[in-house]
Subunit: 446 residues, 2 copies
């Protein structure tokens, strides 16, 4: 490598919409991932990992027209059309079909992994973000629906997020309310749902206009559709009345009642609420759908931190067998942003605990041995590598967030001892090298 | 979604060279990742995460001609030339240059992440694999070299892999031995190194031929080059003699002596060995280089499980400041394969501990409440979702690997109790629902 010749520097730059997670942010982010994974496992979910790249055919056409445009797609070295995964749900459907013989249903899996969408960064979106999904494949029942919701709400509890409410709806209730307003063609209903999905972001009049242009129905009908979702306090009972009056089936509401009862039985009734305006953009949902919003005013703008629903038709696109499924998806980076804002992020979980100074090159061997003993005892220990005066080394120890520092000069080396200094209060004690790890551990445990 | 209409099924297929990790394999793999990360952290390394996609310019030209060909590259929606990351080292160099003002040197970071190479699958290579890297940026010293090696060897110890030997060399020793054989042009020396790198895979005569065709030197010189690396027991002293006799500088050997002494001081002397035939293919190394091989005959074919070296010129491609660096890279999937072969993989770490049966739909509420209590107590509990007779449910519990099962019939529900069954010996006891989690925890702790 011609580093000795002057040459043009390469630009050090991340791609637009992509970012590095430096240790200050990555450490708490990783602690969050571990908590989420452990909570999924406590609820009986097992880890699955799928490739970042899939055949384009596997992903295309599953996310609606807009989603299709956002797929990162290209031809690989074998001229295969491939794409980076857009979510974790369609790859799961592909896995269930491909590995059907190895999988015992019901199949509970979780996956924490990045997904890629070529979204416009000016919309505040990033193009690479982590999803944390847990899904139950093979059962269509209220108890399976409830299990996924309880799992998701438990994750939020584990992370210390108390002010979160899951807004629950059912696709049949949505379609029913739209049908009751007089829109009965499936394609038109789907266009209505796409517009209704924006009710919390744009004014009702704009939603109505979108329904008119998207479906071709007249202004009165579009106004009736929007009106269906603008009642003050819509309860299951009041929506049941609306649907019954229009002669529309209410089975979706019955399922919602059951799910709400089970989630309440688990003691989480105050964190879930029926909300008929929840529409979800994705095409593949067939049963319950939901979004979870934070109620604390400091983090209201962050948007949905957990969403998902039932998608009984998706796996059927890959295999003849009809296999129902339901799942949750947590947005890791939105959750991290919320936790930072709410000051729930711990900075200590990964920090260095003991900083081992190196008195001089002659003491490097002793320093490296003591670092080894501390690490074998399970402590996070950093060895000074920049050298210089002891004062400088202790400054670096403080900057690295270390609680304790170890010092061994020629006298201590001869005596087989070390000086252990508490960097919080400056107290120091001389201990035998044998006792160092035990004493350090005891100080850290206080 | 038109699931009610007959339609062509999508093919459920992973791309060639890519694979799914099903839970049976992913669970131990994830347990390994957690152990590796914890060991890195005990050694003072902090997590960093970089994007999967980089500007093509960032990656191109850093991995030699062959590496360049294996880059997954394409144009994104903004017609930028981009590529999937090929390793974790070049992105680290880009990060250090881009975030220079935020980073305090020495900077120790680790990253566990997938990389992508469009390699030929018939060579037994996969196209997506995980690397686990730990690097120290900002210091060129024997102690920094030793710290990275000690960290890597400690990871292998933590994983329970005892029969591993790190083969250590230095680029200057390699160049020196080649120069001593009479090849003095840099480009010719690099061609020699590429050929020498294959000495453990192809016969010496074939390596000699490759040197002749790759450099244009005569057969005698090429034979002398190969001969330099074929001595029986090459020690630092014997190589020092070879180099001194040819009037070649021996500073590289001095560095190796120091590093070996420090690693030995940490008690790891039996896991490291000087090996002048280690060449490493990548162009960017400037100091120590090494590969770690497993010695157990059952896993000898797996290849190097940990490798790396010093690359003091790489970051300088992105910034004018000269910033040295040294690192290790562990191959997660090779390690997992080795651990499976050596029967070191634990299957229990993620398995369900308690299976909660559902006697009937009327008992679903109680079952969901008991599952909640068990999970809140930190136990991994699965709720039966497939229903049917109790015997069927207990069969599923066993298949899922659960140790305990919980049963609540109408009598128990009325009495506020539950039956807890040990699936290993069939013993069962009736406990109050309040005591369930504590009793289950106690049984699992035995």
């Amino acid at each position: 490598m011609a580093t000795d010749q002057p040459q043009k520097l390469f630009k050090a730059q991340t791609l637009k919409g992509f970012r590095d997670y430096m240790p200050e942010l990555m450490a708490p982010r990783q602690a969050m991932i571990r908590l989420i994974e452990a909570t999924f496992e406590r609820h009986g979910f097992q880890p699955l990992q799928t490739p970042a790249l899939e055949y384009l055919e596997t992903l295309a056409g599953k996310y609606g027209e807009e989603g299709d445009k956002l797929l990162y797609r290209f031809q690989d070295h074998g001229e295969r059309h491939v794409a980076l995964r857009y979510d974790l749900t369609v790859p799961l459907a592909r896995v269930v079909a491909e590995h059907r013989n190895e999988i015992q249903l019901p199949f509970r899996r979780y996956q924490v992994a990045p997904v890629w969408r070529a979204d416009k960064p000016q919309r505040g979106r990033v193009r690479e973000f982590f999803q944390c999904d847990a899904d139950i494949v093979g059962v269509n029942s209220a108890i399976a629906d409830a299990e996924t919701l309880i799992t998701g709400l438990s994750v939020l509890q584990t992370l210390g997020i108390d002010g979160a409410v899951l807004h629950l709806n059912h696709r049949d209730v949505l379609f029913g309310l739209i049908a009751a307003a007089g829109v009965t063609e499936k394609a038109q209903q789907i266009a209505c749902i796409r517009a209704i999905d924006k009710l919390d972001k744009i004014p009702a009049a704009a939603v109505q206009t979108e329904i008119e242009t998207g479906t071709g129905v007249d202004a009165e009908t579009a106004g009736r559709v929007v009106g269906q979702f603008l009642h003050g306090a819509m309860t299951i009972a009041s929506v049941a009345d609306q649907l019954s009056a229009a002669g529309v089936d209410t089975a979706g509401l019955d399922r919602l009642r059951e799910v709400l009862a089970l989630v309440s039985a688990a003691g989480l009734g105050d964190r879930i609420r029926f909300d008929p305006t929840i529409a979800r953009g994705l095409d593949y949902y067939t049963g319950i759908i939901y979004e979870t919003r934070l109620t604390d005013p400091r983090v209201k703008g962050i948007g949905a931190v957990m969403s998902g629903g039932r998608y009984d038709g998706l796996i059927g696109l890959f295999t003849k067998e009809a296999i129902p499924a339901v799942g949750i998806s947590l947005g890791l980076d939105r959750l991290l942003a919320a936790m930072q804002e709410l000051e729930l992020v711990s900075k200590d979980s990964h920090a260095v605990q003991v900083y081992v100074t190196v008195f001089s090159e002659a003491q490097a061997v002793t320093a490296i041995q003591l670092a080894r003993l501390l690490r074998q005892a399970g402590l996070r220990a950093e060895l000074d590598l920049a050298g210089g005066k002891l004062g400088k080394q202790l400054e670096r120890a403080s900057k690295r967030g270390a609680r304790l520092a170890v010092m061994v000069g020629p006298d201590e080396a001869t005596a087989g001892t070390a000086v252990l200094k508490d960097l919080r209060d400056g107290a120091q004690q001389t201990v035998t090298q044998e006792d160092l790890a035990r004493t350090a551990g005891a100080l850290l445990a206080v």
